[in-house]
Symmetry: C2
Subunit: 241 residues, 2 copies
């Protein structure tokens, strides 16, 4: 790969957060929209949904005047296009499907390349379900760990939950993890059957949507008051009392 010396002018890579819910238009700040406006080349997960989001956020945006690239499962083509984009010196935008690019999404691989190439990387403010859930949970924000997805197989998942819970009690660290919506109920089952009654569990559902609901209670209280999450996007947090 080339070094930054080979690039002229220096590329700027903008990381543009997108909406977590259709109703969250007012969660995207003006500075982020200005940066989006400046981008000539866009890397997105799904071109159709990205176009729809941009049309909603920035109706004046000239969608067809930009160059679009898809970040697919196999990132080979996106990476090739990204190297070329960096060399063009044009402003580049990376958008994730929802929330902040570079956090648990394929955009991270491109940001990594941008750093290796010595490009200027500008992260822009927008909604993150991880951060919003942590803020509202009331759990320890001085020490926290995001663990992505836990294993799917029942025994491995129970062990993973037990390990996170025991680390939370030992170190005070808040542990966050996510689940695909159709496994939300199974995750709740596991948490309520595995965790100590006094462990504090936060379930954050539908963040930034009209049905947003972020509740922290001891596991024993959740058992008396079973949450009904359905298929709403949710994030789970465990912490000690």
């Amino acid at each position: 790969m080339s070094t930054s010396k080979d690039m002229s002018p220096k590329a700027v890579v903008h990381l543009i957060p997108t909406l977590l819910s259709e109703e969250g238009v007012q969660t995207i700040p003006a500075g982020t929209l200005l940066a989006l406006e400046a981008c000539r080349i866009l890397f997105v997960e799904n071109e159709r949904t990205a176009r729809r989001q941009i049309r909603r956020l920035l109706p004046s945006f000239d969608i067809d005047g930009r160059t679009w690239h898809r970040m697919e499962q196999d990132m080979t083509e996106a990476k090739r296009a990204f190297v070329e984009a960096l060399r063009s010196g044009l402003d580049i935008g990376i958008l994730s499907e929802a929330g902040c690019p570079g956090i648990a999404d394929p955009g991270q691989e491109l940001v990594r390349m941008a750093q290796q190439e010595g490009a200027i990387v500008r992260p822009h403010t927008g909604p993150s379900s991880i951060l919003l859930a942590l803020m509202a949970s009331g759990l320890n924000g001085q020490q926290f760990r995001f663990n992505g997805y836990l294993p799917v197989a029942s025994d491995a998942r129970r062990k993973a939950v037990r390990d996170l819970e025991s680390d939370a009690w030992r170190t005070g660290c808040t542990h966050l993890f996510i689940e695909t919506p159709y496994r939300n109920e199974a995750m709740v089952e596991t948490l309520l059957s595995v965790c100590r009654p006094d462990t504090r569990l936060c379930i954050a559902m539908g963040i930034t949507s009209p049905s947003e609901n972020i509740r922290t209670m001891p596991v024993e209280a959740w058992k008396r008051q079973r949450p009904s999450i359905g298929k709403v996007p949710a994030i789970f947090l465990l912490g000690r009392d």
Copy 2:
């Protein structure tokens, strides 16, 4: 403490992020300003700086028409006032000195109480140096841990860095930590002398300010190109290659 049944009407606690840098006015979204506008009672770390920020963000805000409470080292008075505020049924706002309340700030204790009392907690979007640094670092965003401040004493600090680095290599987790600005240079010294040459170190300085600079390089490259951070607010990230 009373349960939610005793409260009528149900209190809403808004978590209002504030600017990371004076120039970052466009990082606060409209939805966050609307929520701020709705708050009748405000809990802040420093009333003078909070008033100044609000005057800049929302010039029409009737500052003197609100009730103000300070979150001090000793939170006794703030907690007492907060319980009373929850019972008033008025919209309550919690602001941190910079960035997102509830993450590494005294506001978290109040959020914890709000959850215990069954209040509605609404987190609002705004700039977070932790999240913005992670996005731009290109380091693993599927697994990350924020570790707050590391120990100050030299030996304990070296050991802490070694432990984080070894966890990063073992699990792939990105480790983030902060330092008070006047110890930035000492932190860099420690990192460059303790870490493996191939460990990737991100130094994120002056986030959202005009001098923002977020660079990720292997430790050996940082040694050849020593960063000069001075007393700019910085956040440090370690990750494996």
